[in-house]
Symmetry: C2
Subunit: 251 residues, 2 copies
Amino acid sequence: MEQESLKSLLEKRSEILWKDCIPHISIDCVVFGFHESSLKVLLVRLKDQELWSLPGGYMGKDEEIKIAANRILNERTGVRDIYLQQFKVFADLNRSEDFFEGYPDNLWHKQRFISVGFYALVNYTDVVPVADEFSGDSEWIDIDNLPAMMMDHRSIFDKALLTLRRQLNYKPIGNKLLPEEFTMPELQKLYEIILGKKLNRGNFYRKMIGYDILDKQEESRKGGAHKAPNLYKFNIEKYTAALQNGFKEGW
Amino acid sequence: MEQESLKSLLEKRSEILWKDCIPHISIDCVVFGFHESSLKVLLVRLKDQELWSLPGGYMGKDEEIKIAANRILNERTGVRDIYLQQFKVFADLNRSEDFFEGYPDNLWHKQRFISVGFYALVNYTDVVPVADEFSGDSEWIDIDNLPAMMMDHRSIFDKALLTLRRQLNYKPIGNKLLPEEFTMPELQKLYEIILGKKLNRGNFYRKMIGYDILDKQEESRKGGAHKAPNLYKFNIEKYTAALQNGFKEGW
């Protein structure tokens, strides 16, 4: 897509957006995907453009905000039914105005936007991004190897990652990301990947047992090792209660 | 103030707001005040109106959002220079539209508003609310004895309290709320008041020492008791680092 045709596409789209959407408010989605030993994020970019962006868009005049966030994610990436959580509003002056310098002042995209950030963590093998003609590419990209991103999207991503890391201090994580039965080292690995650092094995074990959300299974894992590792399952009742009320071990 | 004069006041104000402010976006502030053994929240109400509300308002077209939040708090309560933090966006359909039923459709206040919630916790003796003619009353009210509140302000308050409680799991609290030197039971009392529940003394001590933000003082408190209690100070360097990066004891 050449610069000129991108411009006319934006201008055409602008008219519709003024009619259908709430001005000044946008939504950006940070979807983290976990698989084995890596953490990725779902990014999009317009065809032939250099900069990547978070999947984002606008709220319909009569649309609930969570429904808008899911619709936007679906439209930009093909991904459906993800439980997205709000984490912060991004409202710096000139975050969008400067980016669209050279475009007409009445272009929808050139308004001052206050963007509501949503995030989610999913098992990325469950979620296959789909490119469409308008969105261009839509891909899972390793968080250790992020490309240049448009506007303030890199700082929106950074803040989402910080929020995800903080969440580990008061909410359980891992259900649907790990197989139904897992070992303590497998669970530890998940935490290490999210935190981006190694954890002490003994401390991890004690803390996790203290959270009281695991059921130790009678059978340990069969395999070649001298000592078969213990297997655990999440106790879904306790896990769900901790999701809502925080950990027993917390304050 | 009678209903009719409130209406004409709102209509006059509406014209100015359409000119100066960003439509569809509002700000609501939940300011918690701690003093000795109680936790209070700063509420306002229009003169002679029954319902109380959170101090709230709108963002200027070229105003940074944090500056807007502080200006609004100052205008409604006389309170200045409070470090407010964003915690959530409230965007339900008809949260404001229904409340202003009977008013003209072009009334500023009757738009669909997406409200950005900010919260803070201060020492409430440092902060004296001032009533002005427009705002009417502005008062510290005990959180255990809240009056009926307008629109969805009660649920904004509830969510702010939950956020404050969660914050205890990853950030220190207490500096400027307690005297410079304090005992462990005094610090525990602060946590108990915020959490609204009793804590076990031994667990509290162990957990707090584990956070590694306290310096034990050489002198213990003089007084009548058989055994003078130990005094602590926050180690400001470690406290500040923990504010930014979370507790050592965290993940």
